[in-house]
C-alpha cells in the first residue's frame, strides 16, 4: 500500500489541544504513568499523543504514610500524597528518557502557592522539560493545601482558580491546562474561571474524594483517612462533568475518569472532550492507552469519520 492510499483511507486522529499538537487525542492521567520508563517495557510510549508526567513540585515530596491504596468496586482509592522526585531530578533523570524517545510531554505541576506553580512552569519551559503545562489545582491528598484538613482544594474556589491560572499564565508561553476537581457544586464555574485566567484547556477530572473504613478494626483503610477515588466507578460522573463544562467554555477539554477502552473514550469525546487520558486502568492493563488509540481509529473508520475532531461534542440529542 502506498502512503497516499493509506492516508486517504486512514482517519486522522491528530488534534490541536489549545496550541499543543498531538498525533492522537490520547494521553495518560498524571500519577498513573510515572515518567514513562516503566511502561516502555510493554510498548513504545512515543505512540501516545502525549505523556503526562506525575505531578512535579519544586522540592521532592515523600508522600503520605502507608497504607496508601485500597481497591473499591470497579476502582480504587489512593492517597499517595504527591510523592515525586522534584523538578531538578525530573529534569536530570526522567525527562531525557522521554525526549530521547520523541515523546510529547505534558508537565503536570503542583505548588504550595501561585508563585511556586509559576516557577515550575517557567523552569519547565526554559529547560525543555515540557511541551505543555498541566497545573494540578485539585489533588485531594495533600494536607498542606489550603487548609489542614486536606479536603479544601484550590479548584474548589473559582476566584482562586482564576488567580492561580493568571499567575502561571504570566510565567509561561507554553499551552496551559488547568486540572480541576469533580468535587464542586458547579463545574462550569471552575472551568470558566480557568478560561478567564488564560488557560488553553481544562483537564476533567481529578479523583473524587472518598474514604473507606475497615469494620473489623474500625480504622480508616488509608493512613490519610481520605483519598481520591478513580477508575470505572467514577466514569459516569466524569462524563457528565465534561458535558457540563463543554457547554460553558470555548477552550478544549481533556476528559478522564475510568477510561478502559475506546468506547469509554468516545463517551468523553461525544460529551465534549477534545483529548482523553487513561488513568488507573493502566495499572490493570499497561497498554490500555495504546488499545484506546487503535480503538478510536477503528471507531472513526467504522463510522466513516475522517477526522476525530469532527466527533467532539457530537452527542446526538
Amino acid at each position: 500500500m502506498t502512503e497516499d492510499t493509506r492516508t486517504s483511507k486512514q482517519p486522522t486522529l491528530q488534534i490541536n489541544l489549545g496550541g499543543l499538537v498531538m498525533k492522537n487525542p490520547v494521553t495518560v492521567g498524571s500519577g498513573t504513568f510515572a515518567y514513562g520508563e516503566e511502561y516502555h517495557q510493554y510498548f513504545d510510549v512515543s505512540r501516545l499523543g502525549a505523556v503526562t508526567v506525575k505531578s512535579l513540585s519544586l522540592e521532592p515530596r515523600p508522600g503520605n504514610k502507608p497504607p496508601r491504596l485500597v481497591e473499591t468496586p470497579a476502582g480504587m482509592l489512593n492517597a499517595i500524597g504527591l510523592q515525586n522526585v522534584g523538578l531538578d531530578a525530573y529534569l536530570r533523570e526522567k525527562m531525557p528518557f522521554l525526549r530521547a524517545h520523541g515523546c510529547t510531554i505534558i508537565g503536570n505541576i503542583y505548588g504550595h502557592n501561585p508563585e511556586e506553580y509559576a516557577e515550575l512552569a517557567r523552569r519547565l519551559e526554559a529547560e525543555g522539560g515540557a511541551d505543555a503545562i498541566e497545573a494540578n489545582l485539585s489533588c485531594p491528598n495533600v494536607h498542606d493545601a489550603k487548609n489542614a484538613r486536606g479536603c479544601q482544594l484550590v479548584a474548589q474556589d473559582p476566584a482562586l482558580v482564576r488567580r492561580y491560572t493568571e499567575t502561571i499564565r504570566n510565567a509561561t508561553g507554553l499551552p496551559l491546562f488547568v486540572k480541576l476537581s469533580p468535587n464542586v457544586i458547579d463545574i462550569a464555574e471552575s472551568a470558566l474561571a480557568a478560561e478567564a485566567g488564560g488557560a488553553n484547556a481544562v483537564s476533567l477530572v481529578n479523583t473524587l474524594t472518598g474514604m473507606g473504613i475497615d469494620p473489623e478494626t474500625r480504622r480508616p483503610m488509608l493512613s490519610n483517612i481520605v483519598g481520591g477515588l478513580s477508575g470505572p466507578a467514577i466514569r459516569p460522573v466524569a462524563v457528565k462533568l465534561v458535558w457540563d463544562a463543554a457547554r460553558a467554555i470555548q477552550i478544549p477539554i481533556i476528559g478522564m475518569g475510568g477510561i478502559c477502552n475506546a468506547s469509554d473514550a468516545m463517551q468523553f469525546i461525544l460529551a465534549g472532550a477534545t483529548a482523553v487520558a487513561v488513568g488507573s486502568y493502566t495499572f490493570r492493563q499497561p497498554d490500555a492507552a495504546i488499545r484506546v488509540i487503535d480503538g478510536l481509529e477503528d471507531y472513526c473508520a467504522r463510522h466513516h469519520v475522517e477526522r476525530i475532531t469532527q466527533l467532539v461534542g457530537g452527542m446526538q440529542l
Partner: protein, 263 residues
C-alpha cells in the same frame, strides 16, 4: 523484561484448607523468572476486582510456573475456581529476585504460613546455583497449615517445624526456633510471612549479628513501580520520610533497612 502473557491453567488443586497450588503454562514469564520475583494475576475479565493480584513464584519450571496461594478474599476465591484448560492473564516477572551470595555457608529459610510461597523456588536456586542445601524453619498456625514440607524434604533440606498450637513440631514462633538454632557467623537468613513474624526474625538476626533478607507484602495497584501505592518506610533518613516500593525496589529487602515500627 516483564510482559503480559495469556496462560493456560494446567492444574489448580486444594493442598490444605483454603490453600491452593496452581500450575500455569507461561513459557515467556517462566523463561525469565527468578526466585523472589512475583507476578500479577488477572482474576477475572470484569471490573471488580479491579486490580490484578500479586503472587510469588513457588516453583519456576522451563515453561510453566507454580503458584501457591491462600484464599484471603474475593480475588483469591475467584482464583480458586480457575479450572484446568482455562486461559488467564499474567503479568511478570516483576520485582527483584533474592540475591544469591556465595559467601555464606549456611542458608536458613524462615517461613510463616503462606509466606512459604517463594521458598521452594529459592531452595532450588540455592541448591542449583550455590551448591548448598538450605535448611527451613516452617511455621504455621497448626499442623494442617504447614505447607511444602515434603517438597523441602525431597530437595534434601532439613526442616524444623513449629506451630502456634503445638500440633506439630515445636509450640513456638519461627523466630524463637531460629534463636534456638543459634546459627554462627556465615549464616544467611531469609524470611517471609506475616509482618510481626518478619519483624521478630529481624530482631533475632540483629541480636545474633546475622544478615536477614525479608520478602515483603503490600497492597499493590501497578506492580511496576509506577503508582507509589505499595511503599514501606525505611530507617534511612526517617525525618525525610524515605520509603521503598515493595514491587519495584523489592519485594526482597535487607530486613535491617525496613522501619518495622512504621509498616
Amino acid at each position: 523484561m516483564p510482559r503480559i502473557e495469556d496462560c493456560e491453567v494446567h492444574l489448580n488443586q486444594e493442598v490444605a484448607e483454603d490453600h491452593y497450588r496452581m500450575v500455569v503454562h507461561a513459557p515467556g514469564i517462566a523463561g525469565e523468572a527468578r526466585a523472589g520475583q512475583f507476578c500479577m494475576i488477572e482474576v477475572q475479565e470484569g471490573l471488580y476486582p479491579f486490580l490484578r493480584r500479586p503472587m510469588s513464584f513457588e516453583r519456576i519450571y522451563p515453561d510453566s510456573l507454580s503458584i501457591l496461594y491462600k484464599v484471603e478474599g474475593k480475588g483469591t476465591r475467584m482464583m480458586s475456581r480457575f479450572s484446568p484448560g482455562q486461559t488467564i492473564s499474567i503479568q511478570g516477572p516483576l520485582g527483584k529476585p533474592f540475591p544469591l551470595d556465595p559467601h555464606h555457608d549456611r542458608h536458613i529459610l524462615v517461613a510463616g504460613g503462606i509466606g512459604v510461597a517463594p521458598f521452594p523456588a529459592l531452595a532450588e536456586a540455592i541448591i542449583g546455583t550455590l551448591g548448598r542445601t538450605p535448611e527451613v524453619i516452617l511455621a504455621a498456625r497448626s499442623e494442617n497449615h504447614l505447607l511444602c514440607e515434603d517438597e523441602f524434604h525431597e530437595m534434601g533440606c532439613t526442616v524444623h517445624l513449629a506451630t502456634d498450637d503445638g500440633s506439630a513440631g515445636d509450640k513456638a514462633f519461627a523466630s524463637e526456633v531460629l534463636r534456638r538454632l543459634n546459627p554462627g557467623p556465615g549464616a544467611m537468613v531469609y524470611c517471609c510471612g506475616p509482618m510481626v513474624m518478619m519483624k521478630a526474625t529481624q530482631r533475632v538476626c540483629s541480636d545474633l549479628g546475622l544478615p536477614c533478607l525479608a520478602s515483603l507484602e503490600a497492597e499493590m495497584a501497578c506492580g511496576d513501580g509506577v503508582c507509589l501505592g505499595c511503599v514501606v518506610p525505611t530507617v534511612t533518613d526517617r525525618e525525610a520520610g524515605s520509603s521503598v516500593r515493595v514491587c519495584h525496589d523489592g519485594p526482597v529487602f535487607d530486613a535491617g533497612l525496613i522501619d518495622w515500627d512504621g509498616v
